[in-house]
């Protein structure tokens, strides 16, 4: 995956560049807003990681101008500001996701993967199939090997998110944001408790668990189900 990284702090930039490089991504690194705008608008990337506080041109201005220039590349905004209003500003400017510094590498990678593989806006997926599990988004129905599996609404949303990202890790905070709309991490692991119920319902009468826990990162649905 070709990724544009706009970050002026050299420590964080090296950390991200190295982490993404190890996973085989090609990272182009710029250190100020004008370069980010210029390169982001002229070259082709699958994702842009944009720091909010950039010299010469602020991150959100870069983002607004890229969007005004019809650059649709998914943008993940990095920021040290975790305030309630800050996130809204970022999303208003056209960010696809928002990550507050400091962050774990695994979190950034999981979010970038989810962003880059997200289907285009006009393509609405109404039926997801991974291995022997099928999920009908409109009818809210799940079947495994043709057998109906009854899930609670939250469990259904958890499974949908995992299936949309099949083969890739989904972190706890991604679940909290997407399924619950919470941008905070409660001390109680509510994701874990809902997920384990969903997993046991999926496993009922079957030998294999299609979902695996990745320690310290999150959960992943095996691409082959």
């Amino acid at each position: 995956m070709r990724i544009l990284l706009a970050e002026d702090d050299s420590d964080i930039a090296s950390y991200v560049e190295q982490g993404l490089g190890e996973l085989g991504h090609v990272v182009t690194r710029v250190t100020d807003g004008e370069d980010a705008l210029h390169i982001g608008a002229t070259e082709c990337f699958e994702a842009i990681v944009l720091d909010r506080m950039l010299p010469r041109l602020e991150g959100l201005d870069v983002l607004r101008r890229l969007r005004a220039a019809s650059v649709r590349t998914p943008v993940l905004v990095l920021t040290a500001k975790g305030g309630v209003a800050d996130r809204v500003d970022g999303l208003d400017a056209g960010a696809d996701d928002y990550l507050i510094k400091p962050f774990a590498m695994a979190e950034l990678v999981a979010r970038l993967n989810a962003l880059a593989r997200r289907p285009p806006m006009n393509e609405v997926v109404t039926r997801l199939v991974v291995g022997d599990i099928a999920l009908d988004v409109l009818r809210r129905e799940v079947t495994r090997a043709g057998r109906s599996v009854h899930l609670q609404p939250r469990e259904f949303q958890l499974l949908e998110l995992l299936m949309r990202n099949a083969g890739r890790a989904v972190t706890r905070t991604m679940f909290l944001e997407e399924v619950w709309g919470f941008h905070f991490d409660p001390q109680t692991n509510i994701v874990e408790s809902h997920l384990s119920r969903m997993r046991s319902r999926l496993r009922e009468g079957f030998a294999g668990d299609p979902i695996e826990t990745i320690r310290g990162v999150g959960y992943r649905m095996r691409a082959d189900g």
């Binding site: 309630v84 709309g181 919470f182 905070f184 001390q187 109680t188 509510i190 408790s193």
Partner: protein
């Protein structure tokens, strides 16, 4: 008096007095001219009536001469002057010593036997006999009335001017006094007397309203300064322990198995701690009102309860909720959800398995009330208020995980929404109640 020009209070008072005086002056002038015109008009009508009455007199010139003589003798109420001129212009009747005026109304001059030449209003008419009959009234009467009116208004104007001037001085002084108190207090606060507040009088007037508003502002500023001081001291003191723990873990890296992982965990815990401190500071700092919207509190409470139900059940707690439907409040959904989540975190972390946790949402016309009640070990009554403060943990919970910020955030969120948090004894157990104002 040098400050008269720079004082808004005096400027307003004097402008007002001057406007009042000008209005009186305008009224006086108008009344003077209107009255004068009316008097002259009435006088002319009386002259015309007398003249036409006299002209009707039969008996020719001789009869008229007799009648004139008769009226000059008898009439004293209407001081008419009469004169009859023959066609040659000689006065042949009437005592009024004047020359023959032109027919119609005119001002004439006659010789008064006592005062000498005097002016009068006259009307003359030519009779069929060729003689010219003149009836006149001395101008003095109207002039006297005019003078009286002028005099009265002059006095009234002087009095108004005087009252206005004195009133303006008094009003100006009063305004300066009331405002001066506020400025002096403000200056004292600027000079460092931060606890000083604007005095509020018993009148409850606009000045008191302004003073109360200023005092509310000063209290808010003082609160923010306290908040800032508190955050700084929290960071200085309460973060030392976790930092020391992180340091000791780092020292063991390479020597003890799993030390690196534990150090990472310590780091994450520290970051979470910073996140909590900043979030509380943000909420306490205010200015979140623009993110407030009408939210369905019943749905939100139910949603969060539903989210925590499996986890509470996994930890062996018996959890149920009684939520009154369709309760709406103005607020920030995320913050209220986080406050509720913190209450569940606490109930789960600080009570043993088997404890019953009951969530309730109810409301009356003005207040929505969220309560989380458990029948666990509770908190000694003496600590009820203290556990709402930052980094305060109940003595019994020193060993359980947590950073002592959960309830502080709940309190901050409630206060940001204009509500409050009350911790009370559930006998046995603990009740935490969040009250939020409802919109009418």
């Amino acid at each position: 008096m040098a400050n008269l020009r720079t004082s808004a209070a005096y400027r307003i008072a004097f402008t007002y007095a001057a406007a009042l005086a000008a209005a009186i002056l305008l009224l006086g002038v108008a009344v003077y001219f209107a009255a004068d015109a009316e008097f002259r008009h009435q006088r002319d009508e009386r002259i015309a009536a007398e003249l036409s009455d006299l002209a009707q007199e039969s008996g020719g010139t001789a009869g008229l001469q007799d009648e004139i003589a008769e009226r000059e003798r008898g009439r004293t109420t209407e001081p008419f002057g009469y004169a009859l001129f023959d066609s040659a212009g000689r006065r042949i009747a009437g005592r009024m010593d004047t020359t023959r005026p032109a027919p119609g109304f005119s001002m004439i001059v006659f010789r008064d036997p006592v005062e000498g030449p005097d002016s009068a209003r006259a009307k003359a008419v030519d009779l069929p006999s060729g003689a010219r009959l003149v009836v006149a009234v001395d101008s003095e009467a109207v002039e006297a009335i005019d003078a009286t009116i002028l005099e009265l208004f002059g006095i009234a104007f002087a009095i108004v001017l005087l009252i206005g001037l004195v009133g303006a001085l008094l009003l100006g002084r009063y305004l300066r006094q009331r405002l001066g108190v506020i400025s002096r207090t403000a200056n004292a606060i600027v000079a460092g007397d931060l606890d000083k507040r604007m005095p509020v009088s018993a009148y409850g007037d606009e000045f008191d309203a302004a003073a109360l508003a200023l005092n509310a502002m000063l209290d808010r500023i003082a609160g923010l300064m306290d908040n800032l001081r508190q955050v700084s001291s929290d960071v200085a003191h309460d973060l030392r322990t976790p930092l020391l723990r992180l340091r000791s873990q780092l020292e063991r890296v390479g020597k003890v198995d799993g030390a690196a992982e534990r150090a990472l965990e310590q780091g994450d815990a520290l970051l979470a701690l910073f996140g909590s401190i900043l979030r509380i500071a943000e909420v306490e700092g205010g200015g979140l009102d623009h993110s407030f919207a009408m939210i369905d509190l019943s749905a939100l409470v139910e949603d969060v309860a539903d989210s925590f139900q499996p986890a509470l059940s996994d930890s062996g707690h018996r959890f149920r909720w009684e939520v009154q439907p369709d309760i709406s409040v103005r607020g920030n959904r995320e913050l209220l959800a986080q406050a509720l989540a913190n209450l569940f975190d606490n109930a789960r972390a600080h009570t043993p398995p088997g404890t019953q946790v009951v969530l309730g949402l109810s409301a009356d016309a003005v207040t929505a009330r969220i309560s989380v009640v458990d029948n666990g070990p509770g908190v000694p009554p003496g600590e009820h208020r203290a556990i709402l403060r930052r980094f305060r943990r109940g003595e019994a919970s020193r060993t359980t995980p947590g950073n002592g910020l959960g309830l502080s955030l709940v309190a901050a969120v409630a206060s940001a929404h204009g509500g409050e948090v009350v911790v009370s004894d559930a006998q046995p157990g603990l009740t935490v109640t969040i009250t939020l104002p409802r919109l009418s």
